[in-house]
Symmetry: C2
Subunit: 399 residues, 2 copies
């Protein structure tokens, strides 16, 4: 609770600062002594600073607080399936510098990590930030993570089992590092700096090449008993449906993800049901991705339209399952498919509304994520930020 209050106070200062303590107490629904205890702590850590005095309300003029944006910076590394993105942000979430590269071959992992570290070094140079101003480095990637050991336990996309990608980062930069799953990072980013700032229980569903999600409860990730919560991509929605990469049939990911849309697009072309999808891909069957199917659908291609409609239906049903089971206050949609246009999102929302039980989840809001492509990297950095807010001494000592 204390940590939650601290995060809350910090968010208010970040969003509303310069702001005085009485006002913070009012917004956070906390007592003034509680707020003073928190602000003393974060003032000492230089996370916030006094920027001047506000108008008097009869007594002394109150001190105004703002987030310090020029002392501490954090690195976020998002190793995605197709792209790797590295950024530096300040404590306000402002991105100072950022670079991306094609992820390319993921094996051997050491080779990939060499390229990631080079990219990171350049981002630090771009930002002109010296090492003593860096609080730490958050690294995120898809797959099942062993948080304590900092290892990737299983990543089918990357062909990794039990791989240590964190040690090279630690050795090179000698800074506090954290490894986590990218869906979890996106949720964290949206909680700290995005659409879910005011949410107390939300689910962030990442619809892209694959489909995953993360559950966030009072600012904390809900991880589950063996760290595998949120696997919405693998709930069965068609018992005898398409084969999924996980080995099961009819998983949401096999029915409605970016790769499922691409697969069905290629099949439509092969079966002669669509010429337009192939045209959109420059007449190269292998180049057909979800984007080409969306483009063909937009121009009225019937086969493409059916593929998209199927994806909308199953994603909507998946969201409704979350609403029926968890009744969250918000569902955040993130990932590449959210760029497919408003109609796609609206149809998903419509199906979710139809499929949620009457009277259930009466207050849930479905929203698109705000941080876009940078969400996972910002989330990775936010994980260090969160740790710093909770236990700044530990982070400062580790550097």
């Amino acid at each position: 609770m204390a940590q939650y209050n601290r995060m809350n106070v910090l968010q208010i200062i970040r969003m509303e600062g310069p702001i005085n303590k009485a006002e913070i107490a009012k917004r956070a629904n906390l007592s003034i002594p509680t707020v003073m205890k928190i602000t003393d702590e974060i003032l000492e850590k230089k996370v916030v600073h006094v920027v001047g005095k506000g108008e008097s309300n009869g007594g002394k003029r109150p001190e105004l607080l703002s987030i310090t944006d020029s002392i501490y910076y954090i690195v976020g590394i998002d190793i995605g399936r197709s792209r790797t993105s590295v950024l530096i942000m300040d404590l306000k979430g402002t991105v100072i510098s950022r670079r991306t590269m094609k992820t390319g071959r993921t094996n051997p992992a050491e080779k990939l990590m060499e390229r990631v570290l080079e990219l990171t070094e350049n981002v630090v140079l771009d930002g002109g930030i010296s090492r003593e101003n860096l609080l730490g480095i958050g690294v995120v990637t898809p797959g099942l993570i062993d948080l304590e050991e900092g290892r990737v336990l299983y990543s089918p996309d990357f062909g990794w089992e039990n791989v240590d990608i964190l040690s090279p980062v630690k050795e090179k930069f000698k800074l506090p590092v954290l490894l986590d799953n990218s869906n979890k990072a996106i949720a964290m980013g949206e909680k700290w700096f995005g659409i879910a700032r005011d949410s107390s229980y939300f689910v962030c569903v990442n619809i892209g090449h694959g489909i995953g999600s993360a559950i966030m409860e009072n600012g904390e990730l809900y991880r589950g008993n063996s760290g595998s919560s949120g696997e919405i991509g693998h709930i069965t929605l068609e018992p005898n449906g398409s084969l999924c990469e996980c080995g099961n049939k009819g998983c949401l990911e096999a029915l409605a993800s970016g790769k499922a849309i691409a697969r069905e697009g290629r099949r439509a072309v092969q079966e002669g049901a669509s010429a337009l999808i192939l045209e959109k891909a420059g007449y190269d069957l292998d180049a057909i991705d979800a984007k080409e199917v969306f483009a063909a659908a937009e121009e009225g291609d019937v086969a493409a339209r059916q593929i998209i409609k199927k994806a909308e239906t199953y994603i909507g049903i998946g969201l409704a399952s979350y609403i029926n089971l968890l009744d969250p206050d918000m569902l955040v949609l993130a990932g590449g498919l959210t760029n497919a246009g408003r109609e796609f999102i609206d149809q998903i929302k419509k199906v979710a509304k139809e499929r949620q039980m009457k009277f259930a989840g009466r207050k849930v809001k479905i929203r698109v994520a705000e941080l876009g492509e940078q969400a996972a990297a910002i989330g990775a950095a936010s994980m260090i930020l969160k740790r710093f807010i909770e236990n700044g001494d530990e982070i400062l000592k580790m550097r």
Copy 2:
């Protein structure tokens, strides 16, 4: 956390008592001063008492504590669709007296409540418990409950919308009362006195006439943002499947509940696919319930066997969805269908295992509830017990 520790200490005394404080501290993984603070509190409330002294470990002989089972009693009322059950239990969860009746007509609610109160009065008389020894009355029923107002917001089975069933109980007995949903009560009962005692995050799925569930996190029910969490009966598992009473198609409840099994049994008879199901129902089509379908399946009836197999498959898929999304430490199966025999449960477990994602939910245990038919009424009483443990003064003052 303090409340959680208190519940934990109480559970240890209940299960292991007579027991000394040092031993409690060891089992609960708490410091001895923390345990002493808690035991002082619950000793003062007479929830536990000193039964003697244990053997010396070199120093003074330590006091041994036990739950007090003869001072406080609690009434639990479970108003079910077909049966209403009322019981009195002591703080150890021992049922002192119990009566059941057919619920019969649920409208007008006042008439039903008159019969429920009469039954309750008789259970109190049976038990020979005087009013001053009663801590309160917990009432549970299916449907969506407004906890704060103590009203049933919506109960399709009962034909209730916004009905107050709590005031008559309060007026008659002048005791603290609580109203809640019966699925939530079953989970509460299994946490306090059943199979889920040691679980920190579990889901209790009630498979009976309908299908519902409740999620319990660290001894607290997770209710959701509008109080409607756990509606697993209404997740869509077949987009164009059978029509559900909720208005949607292909809900788990419409595919695999007791009423779905009965409906498909009647259909099989009407279509001439099974004579045995009709025979089991005494040649009365309307008398076909799930029980008759199970009985016919057991004797090898092909149509009945198919109906049961379909139910097993969809219930297994529903459980796997919970495992993939929430990764709980335990899934507890409760409700009438758990009496259908071991083979039915084993098949459900098998499907759940197949349908959960590889590497996900690695540690989840699927177990059948321990409290059987009494679960909801014991759970109803446990809700008062929990309130008493958390805030005994309030409960004692309200009487």
